[in-house]
């Protein structure tokens, strides 16, 4: 049973062109971590907004967690889907990090033990321990992004959408993010990461969906996502750095560092 299901979805912004050409977008995603990649304007953010009901499709079906998104309000969808927007400043308003993170589960009317538990876990997973009483606006942009992610996580949602979480993040932060999504995937949650960072995709996202001009060009294991070079080029993507190095050495295709090292050892022996 897919956690996220779109079937023949058609949508156009007012006064704009169709985002998803005939016959519409069809996509299904299950548990685990999936990367959604493609050029700006390919329809990635539109897709995530359709998933939570911020946008309504002209036709077609959008189901998340078994629920028809068209039948519930956006706020009600938040019980199922945690969404971390690209710009944290669109959300932050509380005076302390802890209050901001707690706002998520609070507004979802969780019980106080659930809130405590969710907040503690989210703060730890997002590297915000020790910063509970800091005013979010005293933190830099990259840390504020973590506060926004933590706030969505604290509600312990089944589905988690992260919109460009690696932008402006340093290496330790990207590693923490990789560990976080891996953990969420192992717990059986569905994680969708919208990103341009192909290295991150290769390291942390076992499944990849490639969107180009509103069409799904590839949906499957990340290990095979970059094999079709003309597709990759047309979608405006560049393969992960390890893939490029592996190709120049004539190794078996790899998309992450562990895979590269394995392929390298094989060639050596």
């Amino acid at each position: 049973m897919p956690e996220i299901l779109l079937q023949d979805v058609r949508f156009a912004y007012p006064g704009g062109v169709e985002v998803y050409p005939e016959p519409g977008l069809s996509l299904s995603m299950g548990e685990g971590v999936t990367a959604l990649v493609g050029e700006n304007g390919a329809g990635k953010t539109t897709l995530t907004k359709l998933m939570i009901g911020l946008l309504r499709p002209r036709s077609g079906v959008v189901e998340v967690g078994g629920l028809d998104v068209g039948t519930v309000t956006v706020a009600a969808m938040a019980q199922t889907v945690g969404y971390s927007f690209q710009n944290p400043d669109d959300q932050l308003f509380e005076r302390t990090v802890k209050a901001e993170v707690a706002f998520g589960p609070r507004v979802l009317k969780k019980r106080s033990e659930e809130i405590e538990r969710g907040v503690a876990w989210a703060l730890r997973a997002c590297g915000l321990e020790g910063k509970e009483d800091v005013h979010p606006h005293d933190l830099g942009l990259s840390e504020r992004k973590w506060v926004a992610i933590a706030s969505a996580l604290a509600g312990e949602p089944r589905v988690m959408v992260l919109d460009e979480p690696t932008l402006g993040q340093d290496y330790p932060s990207r590693q923490r993010l990789a560990r976080l999504v891996e953990q969420l995937g192992l717990e059986g949650r569905t994680v969708l990461v919208v990103t341009h960072d192909m290295d991150f995709v290769g390291e942390a996202c076992p499944t990849t969906v490639v969107l180009s001009h509103g069409t799904v060009m590839y949906a499957g294991p990340t290990s095979g996502a970059f094999e079709d070079r003309s597709m990759v080029k047309e979608a405006g993507l560049e393969p992960p750095h390890v893939t490029a190095l592996g190709r120049s050495l004539g190794l078996a295709e790899s998309v992450n560092e562990a895979g590269f090292l394995d392929a390298w050892k094989v060639q050596r022996s």
Binding site: K49, L54, T73, A75, A78, Q79, D89, F93, G104, A152
Partner: protein, 259 residues
């Protein structure tokens, strides 16, 4: 949301090409004269002149849309209320059941309505034929400080930008589970989570913009030469003086007994 706030309608008429200051002075003067002129005949004559200009500018249909939306309801309201409630009412004209309408009240209402029509007509004519930034540009060329000019020009973009920001914030908070519709207590609870990010983001954006302006050299005391030349002429200058002087002139005439 497209561009800034603007009613501007593309065109090449005489009015479009006139100097922004000419249009500004004429508009203000026409509005003043409409309210100074003593009787409906004079005001109506002014109104007809404006109508001719509107047609010349090619924006007649747009103005009729405005007239329908704004002037019609106001006129009807004025007639309805003044017609029967004005304290000077004496002469009965007709009756709608128990409500009696008098000539004095109706006449006053009609005068007010025509004055308002001139006000609306003149200001919309100006807006239809003048790019928003052109007036502040023209004023700066005549000596308005660049800071004031900037305030005027950025005011036009601030509203759409703030509306965009408010929309994004509402989306983000709804996605967290905040209900923004429904009962009054529910909407009251949503107030802070919607307002505070807007205020904070606006303050931060203002600071960043101020820095960006400095980086471009805004505020240097040099003679600023504008890219846009507005065509002026002796005729327009004379027209501006005439229209400007017509206002105190009309006031003087009223005092002297103009009826």
């Amino acid at each position: 949301m497209a561009g800034g706030l603007s009613l501007y309608a593309e065109g090449t008429s005489l009015l479009h090409r006139a100097h922004p200051l000419t249009k500004g002075v004429v508009t203000l003067s026409a509005v003043a004269l409409a309210f100074i002129a003593p009787s409906i005949g004079w005001v109506a004559a002014l109104g007809i002149i404006l109508l001719v200009l509107v047609a010349l500018a090619g924006v007649l249909r747009r103005l009729l849309a405005v007239a329908l939306a704004i002037l019609l309801p106001i006129t009807l309201l004025l007639l309805a209320v003044q017609g029967f409630a004005n304290p000077n009412n004496r002469t009965v004209v007709f009756a709608l059941g128990p409500i009696v309408y008098y000539r004095e009240g109706l006449a006053i209402a009609a005068l007010a309505a025509v004055r308002i029509a001139c006000l609306v007509g003149a200001t919309f004519l100006f807006s239809f034929t003048t790019r928003p930034a052109d007036l502040s540009e023209a004023l700066m060329q005549r000596g308005l400080s660049p800071r004031m000019g900037y305030v005027l020009q950025s005011a036009l973009q601030i509203i759409p930008q703030t509306l965009d920001m408010a929309g994004r914030i509402q989306d983000a908070q709804r996605a967290r589970g905040l209900e923004t519709e429904g009962s009054l207590p529910r909407r009251a609870r949503a107030y802070l989570p919607l307002m505070l990010p807007l205020v904070l983001s606006s303050l931060v954006a203002t600071q960043e913009r101020a820095m960006a302006l400095e980086v471009r050299g805004f505020g240097l005391r040099v003679k600023r030469i504008s890219r846009y030349e507005f065509v002026d002429s002796a005729a327009q200058r004379i027209l501006r003086w005439v229209m400007a002087l017509a206002v105190p002139g009309a006031i003087a005439a009223r005092i002297a007994g103009w009826r």
